[in-house]
């Protein structure tokens, strides 16, 4: 019998705890598929964030280390320097990476740390109940911006891919989304390219993945995908922002 579909070996049998329609699960799977396809499961180490994906160590079938909120890049960088033949990635939300961890991510990129960062941008602090994040869109209602984010008070949403693409140390920076099958496939390609960038020793890489949080957006899963498409993609344009070529 021909196998047409199977769970990647890089995922455990544990059932995801994510809310219905949450795209964290899709992204976990894409990372797992890439790790399987590149045959690097035995040498991959992931760093968990604090956020809804805090339990990611239960789902990935390789070694994972838990970081304090926002500190994953520093930890990944340290392991990579000590074990340069391993593949290191961080898995971080927008609160983790762009808010409390803004310092760590910038400096990991400035130093050109040879790690991959998978950045799950869902425009809110999902885990703590949907508060405004630096990535929250203008006018977006959250529990701490009940009448919508205002540029006068809270400023403009942070474009992390653009910010990090400016750094010489960044070798591959790309923004994708997981709102429909073509974009899911593009996201997978970007994840793989980031992992390959690391394998080639070219420098820091990050894939910013526009994601959903139906629970805190107060939308059903389908409308969430539509909201992502209509609101996030226009402000956070998709595509590769930086591709350093092989030396």
């Amino acid at each position: 019998m021909k196998t047409v579909f199977k769970k990647p070996e890089s995922l455990t049998d544990a059932q995801f705890h994510y809310c219905p329609g949450c795209t964290h699960g899709i992204i976990h799977r894409l990372i797992a598929e890439c790790v399987d396809e590149m045959n690097i499961r035995e040498s991959t180490i992931g760093i968990c964030p604090v956020g809804c994906s805090v339990l990611a160590y239960d789902y990935f079938n390789f070694d994972m280390l838990e970081a304090a909120h926002g500190r994953a890049p520093a930890i990944a960088a340290a392991i990579k320097r000590l074990l340069p033949d391993r593949t290191l990635f961080t898995y971080q939300g927008d609160g983790d990476l762009a808010s409390i961890g803004m310092g760590e991510i910038l400096h990991a990129s400035v130093r050109g740390e040879k790690i991959c960062v998978f950045f799950i941008n869902n425009t809110v602090y999902g885990m703590t109940g949907g508060q405004m994040a630096p990535t929250t869109l203008l006018g977006q209602v959250t529990t701490t911006s009940p009448y919508g984010r205002s540029k006068d008070n809270e400023g403009y949403p942070a474009k992390m891919a653009e910010i990090l693409a400016q750094n010489e140390g960044s070798a591959y920076i790309c923004r994708t989304a997981v709102n429909d099958p073509p974009n899911v496939m593009k996201t997978k390609k970007a994840i793989k390219k980031a992992l390959q960038t690391q394998a080639k020793g070219l420098g820091f890489s990050m894939v910013e993945i526009l994601s959903t949080c139906p629970t805190n957006w107060g939308l059903n899963p389908l409308d969430s995908m539509k909201w992502l498409e209509d609101n996030m993609i226009p402000y956070y344009p998709l595509g590769e922002l930086k591709v350093k070529e092989d030396r």
Partner: protein, 396 residues
């Protein structure tokens, strides 16, 4: 006014009644609801507060420090790792003598990550120069928050205040609560008119400058004196609060201590469980009592010694592990307090409830059983034990 509110709602409501000038806001479980409720008050124009949603707790405390230095009243709320991330600034706030009010919703400190209640977060900050007041229930959380500013802002105190409540147990459980009228609250709190503040043109000022060794120690002594002065002020404010609320507060609460031979010393919501156990034991003729520490900083050492002087055996119950190899922080303070007594009771430390491990009436009864045995035999036995854990045989 009688209401039903959770501890977080009650504290957010107290903040609304106070109408502070500035809030530094950053979410962390289980205190998150406080800045969330408050965001609604701000957005609805129910308060005039400048609400600054920052990127971390290090920044939320920095916002409070700056605002308070500029002569404004500032508040914030946090828990666990959030408080830990503020650590550097906690000392700065206290040493700059800035009476910020912080709602600390206690939660175990990582690692391992745990979101439930114990005191490892605020106990780590016990030497930072902040006044620390602990609540048993929602009513006390509300009342303590209202009393914080009149305590901290007094000129001979001028220290920041941490008003603490137990994460989830108190912060999320809904209870009946008596709220004061907002007018009464405003009169009680009064205006904040500090003598010194930034941008006062008659009196240019630098806040938090480098302090060289010929001066540093004098400043620290002043801070220590302020903490001593806070004790009397806390009682004064409690007396004034009793006048408007009818509710009595001291540095600690003594429960059935008049003739108690066996006593517990503990903090927070466990007091409710302990009171139930004591009532049961009293029916059986056991002379059991409780001292519930309300004010941990300044520590009421002399007063506690007087309260425990007539007892024969005392168990301190620490809901945080100090890793001192010598017992938890409440135990260390209680030992120190009792040292001056001519006749000291037997004293043991029971570390319990870490990371939210439940404590039941029966557990407390067991502790009293052990105390009764100590009083009868005169043998203290192991002094520092952990209750309700499975990794080693239970002694407590």
């Amino acid at each position: 006014m009688s209401h039903r509110l959770s501890g977080n709602e009650a504290v957010a409501y107290a903040m609304k009644q106070i109408n502070p000038d500035v809030m530094g806001a950053f979410p962390i479980t289980p205190s998150t609801e406080i800045p969330e409720y408050f965001a609604d008050y701000v957005a609805n124009g129910e308060v005039n507060t400048e609400y600054v949603a920052v990127e971390s707790e290090h920044s939320s405390m920095s916002v409070c420090i700056a605002a308070q230095a500029a002569g404004a009243r500032s508040v914030c709320a946090t828990s666990s790792c959030g408080l830990a991330l503020m650590y550097e600034l906690l000392y700065v706030a206290a040493s700059c003598r800035l009476p910020i009010t912080l709602a600390c919703v206690n939660r175990a400190l990582s690692g391992p990550i745990n979101i439930n209640h114990d005191y490892s977060d605020s106990m780590g900050a016990r030497d930072s120069g902040w006044i620390q007041i602990y609540a048993e229930n929602n009513q006390e959380a509300y009342d303590n928050f209202l009393m914080a500013m009149p305590i901290g802002e007094t000129p001979n105190v001028r220290l920041p205040v941490m008003a603490c409540m137990d994460g989830f147990i108190t912060s999320h459980a809904v209870e009946n609560i008596e709220l004061l009228e907002t007018d009464a609250v405003r009169r009680f709190i009064g205006e904040y008119n500090p003598e010194h503040y930034l941008l006062k043109k008659e009196n240019p000022l630098a806040v938090g400058p480098y302090d060289i060794s010929p001066y540093y120690m004098e400043h620290k002594v002043l801070e220590a004196e302020a903490m001593k002065a806070a004790k009397a002020r806390i009682l004064e404010v409690a007396a004034a609060f009793e006048k408007i609320s009818g509710r009595h507060y001291g540095l600690f609460e003594e429960y059935r201590m008049e003739d108690a031979e066996l006593a517990l010393v503990l903090m927070g919501s466990t007091a409710g469980t302990a009171k139930a156990a004591i009532d049961k034991l009293r029916e059986d003729g056991v002379k059991a009592g409780l001292v519930k520490i309300r004010v941990f900083r300044p520590f009421p050492g002399e007063e506690l010694a007087r309260a425990l002087a007539g007892t024969r055996a005392v168990a301190v119950m620490d809901k945080s592990e100090g890793f001192s190899a010598n017992g938890g922080p409440l135990f260390a303070e209680t030992c120190g307090a009792l040292y001056g007594l001519k006749e000291r009771p037997h004293l043991i430390d029971i570390v319990y409830g870490l990371g939210g491990r439940d404590v039941r009436v029966e557990d407390i009864e067991k502790v009293f059983g052990r105390l009764a045995n100590i009083a009868a035999t005169g043998e203290t036995g192991p002094v520092y034990v952990h209750m309700g854990q499975r990794s080693r045989e239970e002694i407590a």
